[in-house]
């Protein structure tokens, strides 16, 4: 993980614009390089561009669910580190499926800033400020 340098970006995939902006702003304020997508199609395109160190993927997206999107992304880049975001409970089938598929972890809404940043710091140490 230390090999990841500042050139790596974090992708936020979230269809709710306010939430997407908020998560992006928190990361930018901490010095991270952030890109965002509002649906799975856009997210897949960003993955193809490369340079991502971590993806935060909401489970409910307008075009396909986050787990399906993760499966597609894994085919493009099997090394992708994926953290799911959801308003569902941990018992939800899609949450379980995401973890089975190899997602690093899942953040349950409403999660706080500290919890959010802790995950980022753990996966990309030395990347922020």
């Amino acid at each position: 993980m230390n090999a990841l340098s500042k050139k790596f970006k974090i992708l936020i995939v979230e269809d709710e614009e306010d939430m997407c902006e908020t998560l992006s702003k928190i990361l930018r304020d901490e010095g991270y390089n952030v890109v965002s997508a509002n649906d799975a199609r856009e997210a897949i395109a960003k993955v193809k561009e490369g340079g991502l160190g971590l993806i935060f993927m909401d489970i409910v997206l307008p075009d396909m669910n986050g787990v399906e999107a993760y499966k597609v992304i894994k085919k493009i880049n099997p090394e992708t580190t994926m953290v799911m975001i959801t308003g569902y409970l941990s018992e939800h089938l899609l949450v379980k499926e995401a973890i089975r598929e190899g997602a690093y972890s899942c953040l349950y809404k409403p999660f706080g800033m500290e919890e959010f940043l802790k995950v980022v710091k753990k996966i990309m140490p030395g990347e922020g400020k």
């Binding site: 908020t22 928190i26 409910v60 997206l61 809404k109």
Partner: protein, 416 residues
Amino acid sequence: MVQSTALAMRKIKGFMQKTRELAKAEVKARIAPSLKKAEDALRENEAKYRTLLENLPQRVFLKNKDSVYMSCNENYARDLDVRPDEIVGKTDYDFFPRKLAERFRADDKNIMESGQIEDIEQSYIQSGKERFVHTIKTPIKEGNGNIVGVLGISWDITERKEMERHLIDAEKLATVGRLAAGIAHEINNPLASILLNAQMLAHTIKKEGRAAANTKAHVNTLEKVERAVHRCKRIVAGLLAFSRPSNLQLEPTNTNKVIEETLEDLEKQIKTRNVMVIKHFEKNLPIIMADGQQLGEVFSNLIMNACEAMPKGGQLRILTGFQTPDTRTSGEAMRAAGEIIKIEFSDTGKGIPEEALSRIFDPFFTTKGRGKGVGLGLSISYGIIKEHGGVIEASSQEGKGAAFIIRIPAKGLDSL
């Protein structure tokens, strides 16, 4: 002469005696074996039917036309705690509480009077536990067609009933569970936005101090909080729409006019999406007793859904008409109605996927992206139409648009 006559008489008597004896012997020798055979056959037959009867898992009983027991099988006798032969001559009053016996007797009477077979499901309390019994009662007819009694066959369906009840409970629980999960999901999203924005603002203020406060960014953050709170408020209001009791303000309503007014309200949204509205309104549409405002809410939901399904523009056809109900018409209020009005909304949008079609009226189900739809519009609409005694149905071919048809009874609302 007298002597000889007396002798002749004696001879005749003796002859007759002899003949009688011979006849008796003949009968004994000839008829008795076939009589015995008949008796044996009868006994065998009875044993055969007894075996059949006793091996049936059902309870079987026979009553005469006065509802007096004539016979029953072991299973039935065991339920009544007697031996099968002890039941003969007894009535239901000897075994059951008076009210139940009266009910049984009334059933017997009905069946014997109508000559029809009847299926009866009954429940009673046995050793403090509710038991359910299914009974088929058949009138017994003589050769001349006269009804002389009742044959009853019954079986215990308590287990089946309990299973049905568990199934219903499980379904109810699953529905409540799905609803709770839906509410949790919908509320958790704006809550996350509120929490993160509040923390972010606090963090920035602590770090930067009052002097360095970037007012514009802070206002932007606070506005996000405000929007999230409004979203929660909308969800709660939507949920309350489910819990509120029927409070329709019924008045004579011109449905065409309600649609026109709704279209006027939504004019801006329709125009910006480049949607062309084509109206086929029935001029002689019956005036219905309805809550115009709530119907307007339904129409508004359907029109907005259609517009959102056509982001690149398209056609929305709105058709009104009426028909006379027939026996195939579903719903009691609809069949009782003199006329049924029909309102159809069909669009040329992206349509509804087949797997989504069956869930489209479920609360919190949405095919729109989050932040765009709470997923309550159609379920609220469904409730409003149902309160009017009507039905709403959706059909769609993916890629070719969707159609929603509403049918509301024009009369008979008093019976709702």
